[in-house]
Symmetry: C2
Subunit: 743 residues, 2 copies
């Protein structure tokens, strides 16, 4: 590999010039950034590289904020449930909240903005029947129903920026002042954000790129009375709410929001909730406002001859890059953190910017860069998982963050990154601006569709949860596969002909969530359109509890397409005969022992619907889990005690496929791809630009006349590589090698 | 043990007089019965024993039935789901049915009694829009919506009794005629059933007990086109439906039933369905009719100087012994098959009869009584499990069935039964007609209440299913425990003060089923009454998905009482901190390793609701199930990936307890009892008439001044036995010994 330069952003810091120069050279950097806790010195700013400077819009300006506490940001929160045991109930509504972070809003009329709800009936308590004691932070309900539970939904002022709060508490920053977030919807704040930036732009002539971290509203992150995380939703619009916003909403949309529209029974419109119309209106309203205001700042940066880059995180609420107002912000670039293939694609697929940048792991912090630890291991894992996705659509730049001086102390790491950065540029030069070979067009169907492209099933950015890893594997697998992936909504199917350009639909998730769909599956039009699509040759792959809602004798509303149904207790009286696993099948061709497939959390009690169901895995996980001393029922091995985890089903010219779950692994990536090709009835297309060894993938770029063979592992691999006509030859790959070949 | 006599029914057969006499002597029998396939000869009938004679009312009379095919029984059935792909859809509605068993009813007006339903919308297709082709057994829908699914609900004639059909097919009876079931609601059949019985009573002077097997309508048992079981519901009223019944219902109840009221989306009102008002009206209607008609036959038997006994099974529909019309039948006795403690109690607790009889296992058939097999093993297992329940409330008699000649060939078995029968009589003499010591009053709460006493979660009589064994264990455990058990309905709580006499409520089942309760948990009055009950000192034990229905921010509606909630995906953003297992707790005091508790199928994603929740078991079953090559998420051992399977929670003066599941075992019996005592805040009462070794139980009979120490195992056991004041002493018990002691 020859030495190349560019497309790399390096963090630097004061008094580290010589080493910075050395690393610019070795890694081929063409940009330098500051980080949280580091500043660039003058000498560094004069190096031959673009300078990125971190910029906070709505926090880190306490000199302003402290004088304008009335323009502090707000949040709607809900008290705990409180049980009435008589007709009088006192609710200490702040119980469980962190008063360093939030304070009750005693400025605005509580009778207008707060709600007391009888959660046993769901009825709002009339405002005459409760009083607020501002001294004691107590709402007293009069005429309560004994043994009903009540909640108070109330507005608070958010007096501490959550990201700074997290860093402050985690790192014991002690007396460091708390960043107060202010609301640019308010006059003084709006004026300030512009004036300050104008001056700042003047005062920072060496800055080439203003790295907004980010704009106005933080994702919802609330701490509890112990100063620990209480609620975190990376998609949460909670901190964008305020009296001003509520009033503006009413004016713009023609109706008033209730507290409950935001508080949502305490679920706060988590991205897992099928969104209500009010909530969709609200996020539209916020996105539009944020785009308008952010554009003002971007324009100022442009006027000063600088680029505007947005960090995808922290105060990113309202900027959703796949949303309809994002384009209007006019950003030059977006930078985000890359955890693997799916998050890489989440960044690299962003439209309407000149370039995207991925911040790779590990962050140069002492937790990883400590004596005795090898940071190369995490870097290698991060790179190999992201590289798959880069082969499909690369970010335009990569970068690192933290203390460069720390990284510099690990020569092996420095060597490795030198290799990675060169490899990135090599790939980029071939892959960007050409369309890679695509075998299938896949649509992931959920309530959010395009808006949350590559963001399906995410709770907190990149954190795993028991309830999601069996679905996240689908995104990760697809992020580096030779298929086109788009995210579509139920609404898209209902109102457009979007399925015309789709080979296979995937619907994956737990029943009732926005990702499975919930009640939308009672809509005959939706069912009809999908059935027709599959009947005419399309594919439908369901994972977990696809199309699930109990209605008219079915729990999986597309059980007829999937060939499987889930036993929910009502049909135990019906015999289930379709339990015999097929000996061989296209989908399981690469699997030695179906009993070893990892379905993650799996799904219980799924059974074959008809004799046409192709049963590919049928077992009783409880039996394999048996431990000494636990007695299973006599016929635990028999049919009543097993369940299907993998099946396929013919449906007209198309097919349905069911998977109980799909955590990410190379094995499961292969399994999913086979399922997709089978569902689309395109098995004959499968072995094109294909590697028999599933640790190796092949990516072809027909316009360039090139294809790449990529070893995703750190071991040497032998594989049969298939070209676009099905011809194949044996190839031996070095550890993690990319080999470029002419077609 | 001294030799005793009585309370035992022996099967006999022709030409087996000498051996019958010997076994009468040795086993102390005082009654002899025929069985399916055996008849008693004259000499046997003259022995010094009551004679039971099996009697079929509504089948086994083909000489009548064949001449009155218009009075044949009927059933409402539903076709498979059929997909319309154009506006015209042909539905071969008999597809999947066994024409030897059922034939379409082409006598009555299909437009009046059949329904074609669009299952995609739930709408009934107008009768003008479909036609029936009786030649081809096809319903054609005109103007169908393409890609909607349709079903036909239709009436059939049932031309083969299901029990005989099962025996016929299983035993290859070839040319043996098919028993045709006739409907005593019809005039000729009703006349015939009485006339025939009158004659039969005259012709069978030696019969002392008419053993009705049973009355009129078989539980729902439908076979498929291959002559195999398609649908079985031991509680199903399917075969009681007919045009005549529907018309009589309309007259009596003042409204017409629709086909859908019976077909119920294809679930056929399984006992797991929360019953609709129409279905409750219907079973009331059938029970009333059956009681009235059965009484006629019982009266005839009485008039002839004979006793009337009913077999609890086969054609028992409408006779439910805990129902409100059962008393009116005037039966002398009920006999049923005993599989274990719960079924023993189901029989022995039956009110309004002079005596009950349990038919014990094994049945004397060649499957068990074959060379090389030891039938004593099954007999011993059956006896030990039933004996626990007998110690609480014995049946009045026990008996066996099948070929006595077979059993006679197994001397060890004959010896063992001699011992069992003596032991039964010994227990009976102490235990019957006295109230055993009771430590707690337990109420099992579901939609059926008293009507289905000891019949909770049953599908087919005594068959295990994956979805029920984790709940059936509760009944089995309680059947032999020193607690009072009653079965109560939601309606009971809403309309009576039944909780006044209850210490602990148990609600156990999967969400949405009649046993958990489904939508009833949205009823504020129900929640209020139970919360008040617990708050004032009562206990509430939830198993599986108790009180589950999504409503107002809660999935478990009594999450506040239970201290746990189930994560259904909406609240992933909320941190779950309450995961630390308590080191010691009253409930788990007898458990060495909580990780070894068998929760059966268990329940996923249950978490602690507040800091008050007493977490007793928290784990991630998936991790313990890990097999080589399957990679778990990095923090799989961390809190996000675990779940609670056992917890308790203080609530006012009372407590809630949560259990993920409770299959039957001695260990789980102890666990459940501790949970019940703890919930009722009666821990201090626990060690009264108590054995420290959980293989041994103590039953006390204060009125008799006696208590029994019972070794439930076939091994010797050492234990501390506690009296009613908490004094204890060490006792060594012989294998399966009962030891009687004076107080």
């Amino acid at each position: 590999m020859s030495k190349t330069k560019g497309r790399l952003t390096l963090p630097s810091q004061a008094n580290f010039l010589k080493e910075t120069k050395e690393l610019i050279e070795r890694w081929g950097a063409d940009a330098i950034r500051d980080s949280d806790g580091t500043k660039l010195d003058e000498a560094t700013k004069q190096l031959d590289a673009k300078i990125y400077t971190t910029y906070f819009v709505a926090r880190n300006h306490n000199e302003f904020a402290e004088k304008h506490m009335e323009e502090c940001q707000q949040i709607y929160v809900m008290s705990k449930f409180h049980l009435a045991t008589s007709s009088e109930l006192e609710i200490p509504f702040m119980d469980g909240y962190f008063t360093d972070q939030v304070q009750p809003d005693y400025v605005h009329d509580e009778k207008l903005y707060w709600e007391v709800i009888d959660r046993t009936t769901g009825k709002v308590v009339s405002v005459e029947n409760w009083v607020l004691d501002k001294e004691r932070n107590i709402v007293t309900v009069h005429g309560a129903e004994a043994f009903h539970e009540y909640t108070v939904s109330f507005l608070v002022y958010a007096i501490w920026d959550p990201t700074q709060m997290y860093n402050h508490i985690t790192n014991n920053w002690g007396n460091v002042p708390h960043d107060i977030p202010f609301d640019v919807r308010q006059p003084a704040s709006n004026e300030y954000m512009q004036t300050y930036l104008k001056n700042w732009l003047k005062e920072n002539p060496d800055t080439d790129v203003v790295r907004f971290t980010t704009f106005f509203y933080h994702f919802t992150l609330i701490f509890n009375q112990l100063g620990k995380e209480k609620f975190v939703d990376w998609f949460g619009y909670g901190a964008s709410v305020s009296v001003a916003a509520l009033e503006a909403f009413a004016k713009e949309k023609g109706y008033r929001l209730r507290a409950e529209d935001i508080v949502d029974e305490g679920y706060y419109n988590s991205t897992f909730r099928t969104p209500s119309k009010a909530y969709l209106d609200y996020i539209d309203f916020i996105q539009k406002f944020v785009a308008t205001e952010a554009k003002k700042l971007v324009d100022l940066a442009h006027d000063a001859g600088k680029e505007a880059m947005m960090f995808l995180g922290d105060n990113w609420i309202g900027t959703e890059p796949y949303g309809k107002y994002f384009k209007e912000i006019g950003l030059d670039a977006v930078v985000g953190s890359v955890g693997g293939g799916a998050t890489l694609r989440m960044i690299s697929d962003i439209p309407h910017v000149k370039y995207t940048e991925g911040r790779f792991l590990p962050y140069f912090f002492p937790d990883v860069f400590r004596e005795g630890n090898d940071p190369t291991i995490e870097a290698n894992k991060n790179w190999l998982s992201a590289r798959r996705a880069i082969m499909r659509n690369p970010v335009d730049r990569i970068g690192y963050g933290g203390y460069l001086s720390l990284a510099y102390q690990f020569p092996k790491f420095v060597d490795y990154i030198e290799q990675v950065t060169d490899e990135f540029r090599e790939i980029y030069d071939v892959v960007k601006h050409t369309k890679p070979y695509v075998g299938l067009k896949v649509a992931i169907l959920n309530a959010w569709g395009k808006l949350r492209t590559w963001q399906s099933h995410m709770v907190a950015h990149e954190l795993p949860y028991k309830q999601i890893y069996s679905y996240l594997g689908i995104m990760e697998a697809l992020s580096g596969a030779s298929v086109d992936v788009q995210f579509i909504s139920f609404e898209d199917i209902l109102t457009t002909d979007i399925l015309k350009d789709v080979d296979v639909i995937i619907n994956a998730g737990d029943a009732g969530t926005a990702f499975s769909g919930g009640d939308v599956w009672k809509n005959p039009e939706l069912l009809t359109k999908i059935r027709e699509f599959v009947y005419n040759g399309g594919g439908f792959v369901g994972v977990g509890e696809p199309t699930a809602v109990h209605h008219q004798g079915r729990y999986f509303q597309l059980a007829d397409v999937l060939g499987v149904e889930r036993e929910m207790g009502y049909s135990l009286s019906t015999d289930k005969y379709f339990t015999k696993e097929l000996d061989t099948h296209f989908i399981t061709e690469d699997i030695k022992d179906v009993r070893k497939i990892d379905f993650g959390e799996g799904m219980k009690n799924v059974y074959g619907l008809t004799e046409n169901t192709e049963v590919l895995e049928f077992s009783n996980p409880k039996v394999s889990q048996e431990v000494e001393g636990i007695v299973m029922p006599a016929n635990a091995e028999g049919k009543e005690f097993g369940e299907i985890h993998l099946a396929a089903n013919p449906y007209g010219k198309g097919r349905g496929v069911y998977l109980a779950g799909l955590p990410y692994s190379p094995e499961n990536t292969r399994l999913l791809l086979r399922a997709l090709y089978y569902a689309a009835a395109k098995e004959q297309e499968f072995k094109k630009w294909y590697s028999s060894n599933l640790s190796v993938e092949v990516h072809a770029y027909p316009e360039k006349g090139l294809y790449a063979i990529v070893n995703n592992t750190n071991e040497a691999q032998e594989t049969e590589v298939y070209d676009g006509h099905g011809n194949h030859e044996t190839v031996i790959m070095n550890p993690s090698e990319i080999r470029w070949e002419h077609m």
